[in-house]
Amino acid sequence: MHWLLLAVPALALAATPEFTITRTPVSGGAEILTVFAPVPESNQPVPLLSVLRDTLGDSDPANDRLRDIWMLTTARPSLLQHAAAGVPFFYWRPNLGKNADKAPRSVLDLGDPASNTWSFLAQQLTQVLAVDSNGALIRASTRRYRSNLADQRRVQLAEGLAVVSHLENREEILGVLNESELLQIQARLTLGGQMMGGLVSSEKLPEAYLSQRSRTHETRGHNWELLRQRAEANGLYFEALGLGDSPTHALLWVAREDALGPARDFDGKFLGIANPFADSRVMDWKGISVTRSYDAQGREVAAGTPGASERELIPLALYGLDYPKVPLLVVDFRATHAPKHREMLARAMADAVTGILGYSKWGNWPYMAGSFVFNFTRTRWGGATNGQQRLKAYADGRRWLALDTSLAPDLRVDLLKRLEVMGVNPLDESIFQATDVARRQFAALLAYAADPDGLPARLQRDRAAELSTYEHGPFARAGFKFAQVATLGIFHHHESDKGLGLTATLDQERRAKRGVPARPDPIYASGN
């Protein structure tokens, strides 16, 4: 019943893009739901994210089941990208080709969210038991490759979450994706970023959603307030930005007249930028700036308002407000590469210690203790030590800038260019190609859905696997899988559909699981 809470109206603080959602039928009884949003550089809305809903071919939502989520703004990496991702200490995003016309790979299977977790654990085990002992080169490259792959997936999950979070409370969306489905998608996208998140049971999803939602709102409010107070204390100008019902980013500006004035005390704690007063880079600033008018109360007013004073503002920094505890510096206008260098340094440290030297926290207790104390102290003092959350913050920034039509065009492009610099993962896409990639990926997805050997066939396989989950526990299913692999595919477990047919059996099972009464007259008796 927690999903009822979503019905509470929240007033929008900033313009939210006009998202639309389309349905594309898939043979075999499913549909692809695709979220479109307008983007500033195109007249046509861009497909951002697709979800596969297995309807069992009927219109009754009681037996529907969400399955795959595809983030369309990201294509499968090319071979060269994969190769680059395995190079230790390579933290750039060269243009190494795209697979934008190949069918996209789903970022999350909502029907089997644990699969990613098990896969990750198996990879980790293999890494530790079989790979790490083969020398620094193999250890470092495989670890870097896996880390880049995981990061790419996290970025997709974060971008997906950024899109879905804007769909709440919108009538036109709720007519297609109901509130409990939205809640499920959001909770799973959040949990998908955690190592063991896929193991959370579906009954806990409302709690996971609410917990994540509260945490996000608390963090945004906290960081908004921290940054505003720091701006105030340092004589800077604060501007909150973002879409939806709470700001996700903020810009700090300095008035040119202040910057040209005498040097003054500046406390850069939590801001991560250099003193802008009497700084030659600000005094000689040739980049983007804005002129704004303020009334006597300091409120921004329209230019030419009687009694208002005009100030030319120079941008100093962009911060993400979703990072836990402190606003995360995403763009430093005077040192565009500084955040990237910090990110590269953090990665290089990890590659050197874990990849080259072979120290792992779990295998080296002093290292673990030292690392914990160091990170704990830095975090306590406001350091941004959480790499996954930093990644999410950059992804959120990219998604916001891609969608926000309210920003001044030159400022938006400037920010995008600076954010583009932040790319440290060879597997990632350039943000300037995202629109083109999204359109081509969507076309490829539709082709995949229309191919009888494509999505429809996969849907059937997934349904068979789903039926198995109703009949057997995880250990039995793992045993079947192991036997299949060990016999090179000769053994293949086939689940009995009790003579009803797969669809009818799944209809019964899904209803039973949700406590919905079975159909009095099964319409799937003939099976399919």
């Binding site: 509470v8 709690e207 609410l210 409010g221 307030e225 505003r228 604060f238």
Partner: protein, 759 residues
Amino acid sequence: MRRGIKLGFLLLALALPAAARVDRVVILKIDGLPPALMRQHKLPAMERIFGQGGAQLDNFYVRGLSLSAASWSLLDTGRPLEIKGNVEYDRYTLRPYDYLNFVPFFFSAAASKRVDMRGVEVLDEAGIPLLADRFDRDERHPGFQLLQRGVRWDTLESALKRSVAKAPKSLLDEWLVGFSITDSLDLQYEHDLLMALKEPKVRYLDYFTGAYDHTAHLTGDPVSQGHELQALDAMVGRIWAAIGQSPYPNSTALILVSDHGMNTSPTIFSQGYNLVDWFNSRAGGAHHVLTNRHPLSEFKVRGLDPFVSAVVTPSNQSSYLAKQGDEYPTVMLDLDGNERASIGLRNNTFNVLHVFLDQLTRRTLPGPTRVATLDAFFQMLESVRNPWMAEIVEIDRLLTDLDTRIADLRQIVLTFPRKWTKTQIAQGVDKDARRQARQLEMWLEERRDYTGYAATLRRLLALTPADFDPGRFKISELIPERSLGPLNTPWDLQNYVTGPGPNGFVLTGSGAFDWDRNFQRMNYPAALQKLTVRNNVQAEVSAEPVDFTVVATVDGLWLSKDAEHQALIQTRRTARGAEHRYLPIANLTGQLDGSVKYQNRTWAAGFPLAFFEDPNLQAPRAWLEDWHTEAEWLTVTHQTRYSTAVIGLTEQLLDSGAGAAYQKYKRLLRRTDLLVFSNDHWNFNVRGFNPGGNHGSFLRDSTHSVFMIAGGEQTGVPRGAHIQTPYDSLSFLPTILTLMDRPEADLPGPVIQELLPAR
């Protein structure tokens, strides 16, 4: 057998028809729950139980400041405020009264040093019982709360077990979704309450939760806040069902009450203004500032220290007290609740004398200047000699009395055995003994501290010019360390010395000590009112963090927005009880003798509390000119923007006069110099950030509280009733006692008659 017979009689008695009667009360204490928010959410259990089956007070208010410790003390005692903040400090010794810090209490209790939370200790010493104290030990089942009497260790143990004794899958889920020990504790307290409901002997049960208040401070998100309300609603449903299965299904009253409201909005972030930074700065006087917790404690390793009750944030711009922050904090701030700040400033004369001593002991003053300075020093000392000597005499007298009580109590404590029998423990004799031992310990500490303070003042007053020879004294021997000293007068606050003049000490043209140029002075009420910010980023939030200041003067409470918009709230005692009136004034100026001068103004818009322009004032404007009782003020003003401010301010700032001499003296020493109220959606929190919402002011969202009651058939509690008459928290306890046929005539608050139709 005899027990069975007793139980039989009890059940028979319960079965007999009788007049309206409440045999048992179950009180759900919900910190910070605002009535307005409850109307925005679907709460089926509460609607069924209280809305349709019970009664709701639509206009129930906190009486003093909307602060948790003070507000719960009012509800739980039915007496005027003894506790006036979430933290208070003794002005003379800076001994903290930290009413909210659980951790030291639990550790002390575990070490058998303490039994009760600080608030309960203060009330016990004042002889003020809690509502639960009206019931015998085995008749009551209190939950865990701010005014905590004793600790139920078995509950904590069970909560811990509850947290870990789960199926592995559930544990994994909780670990991934977010594990909360607080949730486990709340569930355990609820479980214990449900168990206690089955006990026929238990007549009083309560349950406290601060979950909503905590969430609302952090976020204004309606879904997050709504989630807390849904959880509360479900719990109310479970408890009501359990009451139906209890031994008193028809004569139990279920009550839900909140201590204050919450000023929260889904579209506005509450903005903080850092008064610690301001007082630290040169513009604020370069003070070393004392607070109860570390500012921005989440960003400090030492912020993890759970035992802290007094933290000094030193100023690096202090002129005469540089690097002496720990010894000489000169400002004390209580910022909790966050829409108001209670500010204690060190006595202005202490500052002046300290600056004198600092200059004189430097030995850098030229000869004539030094002579003039010495003269001026003794002139200043002479001006305070009589009142300070009187103060020392008073301290001596009180300490002499205290010595007698200490000796008596010591004799009692010495008789306590080292070990207590099981029977004694079951009867709580050991805890009563520990309370007495703790009282003795506190009296001894107080005696030592007050004696030290008086001795330092004596040395100061005994100074002669001959003592100013090199090395004859240290300043710390003459100016009490960690002490704010006597309360400041309005003149002091408007002419507050923050350091020597920019050029040190100089003489006038005629060779006299130049009082004007030799000191930096600040007018604190005016300076605070003029605070502004440059980032005015929310249309609904003013650029001025401060709404108005309040100072107690001999002519009444002085409320000030600016020089032209001020007011006096005056109080007199008549046969009808306390009566108040509100006078619009301007330009109040403190005089050296402690009196004040001001100009009367005619009513207009813009004065503090904004009564004149408020459309919800339930009386003609002329009504404001006259004296009125508290009940009349409540009726006329409760729906205005500042709701119960007139009553609340007098409750907060005027002393009730109750209690024994020593207790009253200590209460007066906990006073602060001025109160500062924030503008709407501003707050003064420095410990962290509270963008979600705040309370502490008299804005109606903050004072408006919840009081709902439902009862079985025999209780006579009306059903489906919405009571419109305004009441404040003083009415809560006498009404509960009257419902239970235990009325107490000397309680000051009016009983809510609408809840007693059958009586």
